[in-house]
Symmetry: C2
Subunit: 80 residues, 2 copies
């Protein structure tokens, strides 16, 4: 089963990488962009065909490796 | 207008970061994960309220800064 995990910074957490991108876009002359915040995405192939089991494995992976839950939120989407 | 840009590696492009995550999950004893591929996500606030204009600004940003179109695909999603 395919899954996509999206990890984004929590609101209020500073994002220097996003700020650098804002600056970069401005120097390139690309107008009309406000704030930018960068996150990560993981496309994961899960062996289990059972949705509940796949989600529990992915939640475990997020809590222990993929996301720093002090400053980041994660979202798990399962596809068919 | 809020937008989300997702940048992922094209098929066939090696992803050492993804491979390292696979290894990391295995060493943590998390079973049942197949391949992992990592990408980037950008949450962007666009000033224009016009969808077509916002998309054209974002496409420009992707082509020139956010994605390396030789090895990466990008997808633009506009929200209300």
């Amino acid at each position: 089963m395919k899954a996509r995990v999206t990890v984004t910074l929590k609101q209020g957490v500073l994002d220097p990488q996003g700020k650098a991108i804002e600056g970069g876009l401005k120097s390139l002359g690309i107008e009309g962009i406000g704030t930018v915040r960068q996150g990560k995405v993981f496309d994961i192939e899960v062996e289990s065909a059972d949705k509940a089991k796949a989600e529990s494995v992915l939640r475990d992976a997020c809590e222990r490796l993929l996301a720093n839950t002090v400053i980041e939120n994660y979202r798990i989407e399962l596809a068919e």
